[in-house]
């Protein structure tokens, strides 16, 4: 009788590679087992999947790779609990269940023709990497690009080596990569919080889209600095974290409401515009 697909059913995925990034954070490469799914599955930068570990449960994780590569995707996962502990034990060849992609993602079509400023704090680079990789893969669609990646210490800068290794490409492609730390006296590079480096970006505030991701405490200062530097608040986007269970707007966990509307972070988010954020108490 059931013609509709069960929204909670899983796609089987094979782990292909596991990279250690920083302490407690790994990057995993997955491939869909079913060729039809591998052919047809698409996602947008900023969307997320529900990753299942049998016998342990599901976790919502942002897609970390460029959507341009069919059949494969990467997830960057920090060890923070029961499920993610086990994910860290995965080895190439192991299987997991995945459903999704969910969420709205960044409006990358709208970004076309504009400059891009990506601001990451802490492990914020994980979801923003999908936007960055997408922009690199579609370089001709965008203007100047700056990535500001910040963390407390040099050895907790997520994707530090990858971004360093892109130096030549970045130079050739007019991409500025700024990596900065706040508490590391031994760090030879830039220091200070992410927002202190907004002035070093190669982006034109008049025609730049900004994507921000970091711990809840960083947003206010980043917003203020952006606006002080003439960035257009209508073009600032943020991707948020939430405790989520269903991912499809049923289970209620991620609901946030304002005076006039209800937002399911899983469906209406996790990417929100600046005005959504400031008009919705409790959204961050």
């Amino acid at each position: 009788m059931n013609t509709t697909e069960n929204i909670y059913s899983l796609y089987k995925c094979r782990v292909l590679r596991v990279y250690d990034l920083i302490e407690d954070v790994k990057l995993l490469l997955f491939r869909f087992e079913n060729p039809d799914i591998a052919e047809s599955w698409t996602c947008k930068p900023g969307q997320f999947v529900q990753l299942s570990m049998p016998a342990l449960g599901e976790v919502p994780i942002s897609i970390c790779s460029s959507p341009m590569r069919r059949g494969f995707f990467e997830l960057c996962i920090k060890k923070t609990g029961r499920v993610t502990d086990k994910i860290h034990e995965l080895k190439p060849g192991d299987f997991v269940g995945v459903r999704g992609p969910y969420g709205n993602g960044f409006p990358v079509d709208e970004f076309e023709g504009s400059d891009l400023l990506l601001i990451a704090a802490g492990i914020g680079m994980a979801p923003l990497r999908s936007v960055f990789m997408y922009a690199v893969d579609n370089r001709w669609k965008f203007g100047n690009i700056t990535v500001i990646n910040s963390a407390k210490f040099g050895n907790t800068l997520l994707f530090r080596k990858e971004l360093e290794a892109m130096r030549d490409v970045a130079e050739a492609e007019n991409i500025r990569i700024i990596q900065t730390v706040t508490r590391d006296p031994d760090w030879p590079g830039r220091v200070g919080r992410a927002q202190e480096h907004i002035k070093h970006a190669n982006t034109d505030p008049e025609k730049t889209y900004v994507c921000v991701c970091g711990p809840p405490q960083v947003y206010e200062d980043v917003f203020n600095t952006l606006i002080k530097n003439n960035y257009d608040p209508r073009k600032i986007y943020v991707t948020l974290e939430r405790r989520m269970k269903c991912g499809v707007g049923k289970c209620g966990h991620c609901i946030a409401g304002t005076s006039t509307f209800l937002k399911y972070i899983c469906i209406d988010g996790p990417v929100f515009g600046y005005y959504d954020i400031i008009s919705t108490p409790g959204l961050i």
Partner: protein, 337 residues
């Protein structure tokens, strides 16, 4: 209009049980809830308001979503959303039946369809039972309902003494009207039903003033109103667990060795852990935000999304709250604030 003698009720249910899985109000250790009947005698229709709402016939407190078995390098899954048997939900109160229509809006949404709920819903015929003696905590008339509202029912029964008056509202309900057991109702029976209904309505408190409640709440997201409301609340979550319209759930895996199940359980927005993120950040850190969320979801957001209040006035949250936080009073306080 038909009727059935009360003395024939068990026979009616016995016949239903031959072709349907019948769920009805059953008392276990003093708690009335809807269970699958194993014998007609188990049913008790003299209850006033079941402790647990019949939503659990469609959205169980604990429900297996699928089973799995892990072998070496492989895993086999068995999904459990299929519903084979036709079902009858017998003796649900009108408020609880109307609540299902609200749950439909969520689980049978156009974009994502929840088959676990929808399949049970499609396979179920609902026999509703009017309320001759509403409780002092009932306030269904505030939400366009009433002790004899027929919305959502397939067959509607009214207790008129020695008989139940039976009105089939859909072809599904019509199908249940066994010719040997049901007979035509007389004009006197219909008059008796009207009298019962009138008397029941007279027992109801006047409806709450709800005009402008949503608009009022629209302006209250940062209001000091929420600052003290929650102080008395223990955060036990009973108001949401026993609510026929609350539909939040948690998804967990339960496994032993190589076999396991993915299970969904009722959850409650009144629990602090409900929104606690892995990082330790909690967007609803105190009772203030949680109470605001519960009220706003029911009387503001749901109205904005679906045009209806997420409440049917069953009164379970009023009866069962251990500290007597009465949602009727909270609504009145919001209106007066």
């Amino acid at each position: 209009m038909k009727k059935i003698a009360k003395s024939q009720l068990n026979e009616f249910i016995a016949r239903l049980m031959k072709s349907y899985a019948v769920y009805g109000p059953v008392e276990e250790e003093g708690i009335v809830s809807f269970r699958r009947l194993t014998a007609p005698e188990e049913i008790r229709l003299d209850y006033q308001n079941s402790k647990k709402p019949p939503k659990e016939a469609f959205f169980p407190q604990t429900e297996t979503m699928f089973r799995y078995e892990m072998g070496k390098g492989r895993i086999s899954l068995e999904s459990t959303e299929e519903v084979e048997e036709e079902r009858v939900l017998f003796g649900a109160r009108p408020c609880d039946v109307r609540a299902l229509e609200l749950l439909d809006l969520v689980f049978d949404a156009p974009d994502y369809k929840d088959l676990y709920y929808i399949n049970k819903r499609e396979k179920t015929t609902i026999v509703a039972l009017g309320c001759n003696s509403p409780l002092s905590t009932c306030f269904c008339t505030s939400f366009e309902g009433g002790p004899f509202t027929k919305e959502g029912a397939d067959l509607f029964l009214t207790d008129i003494g020695d008989w139940y008056l039976a009105e089939a509202l859909t072809p599904k309900g019509e199908r249940l009207l066994d010719e040997e057991l049901f007979q035509e109702a007389t004009k006197a029976d219909v008059r008796a039903a009207a009298k019962v209904e009138k008397e029941a309505l007279a027992k109801m408190a006047p409806p709450l003033e709800l005009d402008g409640l949503k608009e009022k709440l629209d302006t209250m997201i940062d209001s000091p109103f929420w600052d003290r409301l929650h102080e008395k609340c223990l955060g036990c979550g009973v108001c949401t667990f026993l609510c026929p319209t609350c539909h939040c759930f948690d998804i967990v895996d339960e496994a032993l060795n190589s076999k396991g199940e993915r299970v969904r359980n009722w959850d409650s927005c009144m629990f602090p852990i409900y929104t606690l993120e892995a990082s330790g950040h909690n967007p609803r850190p105190s009772g203030r935000e949680r109470w605001r969320q519960r009220l706003m979801h029911k009387f503001d957001y749901f109205v904005a999304n679906y045009g209806r209040f997420l409440c049917v006035g069953c009164g379970r949250c009023v009866i069962n709250c251990p500290v007597n936080l009465d949602i009727r009073k909270v609504i009145a306080d919001v209106m007066a604030f």
